[in-house]
């Protein structure tokens, strides 16, 4: 147990350099690279004095290393600065978008696992059968489908043609926004308030975007589950279970899948970055008011502090997720040395 605690502390300590490097990369991309946010924002014809004034406001006239230190200092104090376009802090612009993206991502992940893991396990159990072949083809094709196009097609078929689901948005028009001020996670809020019609409405809106993510990302998990299952099913303890007369289905799904699951969990952590990328595109397709749409909107408005803030939040999120996954990994698999 003491070992585990030390592992957790070490792992948390190792996250700090990663966050630091990511923040530095964000800084390099947004400030050191050519392209000046202020003149871009004010347009080409703004007088130099106005540009200089705006630069001073934002602290962009200082030497680059001073800017860098200020930038890190600000983030350390959880201060992301103010928007250049609207009268709001960057954090207030992000605050109600973040839960929308996380909600979409979590449901997307749910569908990914729901589709990917059983199909992969089934394919492994029936290796080289037509079903295996079909599932592998599906996996490869799904992996190549651009997530935004998948979203558009599902939208076309199930929303525009069949009217089964709403076309876009996070809620229907009649829903009162104040219901959602508790956590910002609409599903959770609706449950807290015990409002069943709103919950159904929210789930209705959530379904198409998250199944889009789920289908596209399931490809990786089909392949991963299949490969891991094939390895696991070759292990001695599987043979032993067969020898003891345990039914084949139980050996495959209970003994095999359980052991194949550890690498899948690791993959889930790595895939989280892809899931976030996918969520951004899906948000654009489904007019989902999350971080991705905020990022794109503010890029158009050249509201560069918000752009920076959104990317910084993403960087921190990715680091924290990879930390959580590693910790879970250590907890689940007793063989992991720490």
């Amino acid at each position: 147990m003491k070992g585990l605690l030390r592992y957790i502390v070490t792992r948390i300590a190792l996250t700090i350099p990663m966050v630091f490097v990511l923040l530095t990369i964000v800084f390099v991309v947004l400030r050191v690279m050519p392209g000046d946010p202020v003149s871009a924002f004010l347009g080409g014809h703004a007088p130099q004095s106005v540009i200089d004034q705006k630069k001073e406001e934002l602290g962009l006239n200082k030497p680059i290393y001073v800017q860098y230190v200020n930038y890190l200092g600000q983030i350390a104090r959880f201060n992301l600065g103010n928007s250049m376009v609207l009268d709001q802090t960057v954090w207030s612009a992000i605050r109600d978008k973040l839960p929308a993206t996380i909600e979409l991502t979590l449901f997307g992940m749910f569908f990914t696992l729901l589709i990917g893991v059983p199909l992969g396990a089934f394919a492994a159990r029936n290796r080289r059968s037509p079903a295996d072949f079909g599932i592998r083809i599906f996996g490869n094709v799904a992996y190549c489908i651009p997530v935004y196009w998948m979203g558009l097609m599902l939208q076309l078929v199930f929303a525009v043609w069949l009217h089964w689901f709403p076309v876009a948005g996070r809620t229907g028009a009649r829903v009162v926004i104040s219901t959602f001020s508790t956590t910002g996670f609409y599903v959770l809020d609706a449950i807290i308030h015990g409002n069943i019609p709103i919950l159904l409405d929210v789930l209705d809106h959530l379904f198409l975007p998250s199944i889009t993510l789920g289908i596209v990302l399931s490809g990786v998990f089909i392949r991963l589950t299949r490969a891991n299952m094939l390895d696991t099913l070759k292990a001695d303890f599987i043979l032993a279970a067969h020898a003891r007369g345990v039914p084949d289905r139980i050996v495959t799904y209970r003994h095999g899948l359980k052991n194949a699951f550890v690498p899948i969990l690791t993959m889930l952590g790595l895939q989280f970055a892809i899931l976030l990328s996918g969520a951004i595109l899906t948000e654009t397709t489904f007019s989902w008011p999350g971080m991705g749409r905020l990022l794109v909107e503010r890029i158009y408005l050249r509201d560069y502090p918000v752009v920076q803030g959104v990317i910084v939040i993403f960087a921190i999120m990715v680091s924290v997720i990879s930390l959580i996954v590693d910790l879970l990994y250590a907890l689940i698999d007793p063989r992991v040395k720490y």
Partner: protein
Amino acid sequence: MSDSKTGTKASPPMPHSRFSPAGAVGMLFRGISKANRTYGVEWWIMIVGIVIVLFVAYCALLPQTIAPFGPNNQNAGPQLSPPSAAHLFGTDNLNRDVFSRVIWGSRTILGVAFAAALVSSLIGIPLGLFSGYVGGAVDRILSLVMDSVYAFPGLILAIAFAAMLGPGVVNITLAVAVIYIPTYFRLVRGQTLQLKQQLYVEAARSIGAKRGTILFRYIFPNIIATVVVVFSLNIADAITTEAALSYIGLGLPAGIPDWGMDLSMGKSFLPSGVWWMITFPGMMIMLLALGFTMLGEGLAEILNPRLLEK
């Protein structure tokens, strides 16, 4: 194992030195049937991939031979007409022929994806070789940076780059290229770490071979097989990334036909049931990405016979 190993070098011996068309066809068939016996499904996967890639490459090189209209011809036909004999994929809101735009658009996406993969491999491979071979603090710092970039959602990084650089073919290529550098770095570094322990590398070092010689003449040739596979898979990924960037409006200036941009235009007409504007460009993105993926997968299985043992 030994069987498949000889198969990698399989090229039927030339029966006679003079070239004849019939002989060439015969050799082709013999080659196909032999490869089919040796590699099975993987070989067909690769062939399908090659066919798709070659088809799109043809569209990219000679679009005028296929496309009936110019990509920006606003007098191609009636506005928003569904697919018909005159307009295979229908027309868009600006009276342009969607089929022609799709054909012309292949040039943009293929060019950008290929150039991006080339740029990232040209940066990532030498860095990976160097870092893996030298080791020490340089290696640790480079790895930390590369691993961090690798962990970061690639699209968001590309969006940030594209937003700062502004629209343009070169800029979008760079934005896409940046996010794949760590892929090559990690791959090449890992293999270099293994290879540098090999006896033949030590032998080269002991006779005083220079570092550059060891890296590029002794170690790199052993990595090429893997790099080729990753390069192909990388292009597949770069295709969807490029289209994603232009889908959200960060890609190319107007006037350049581009599948991603066509998708985002079609998106606004989707609620009124205009299905052809989104279906065809998207299908092409998927097809092309699938082609490169299949090519890469097939190559992976063929170049790495150990995978065939399963």
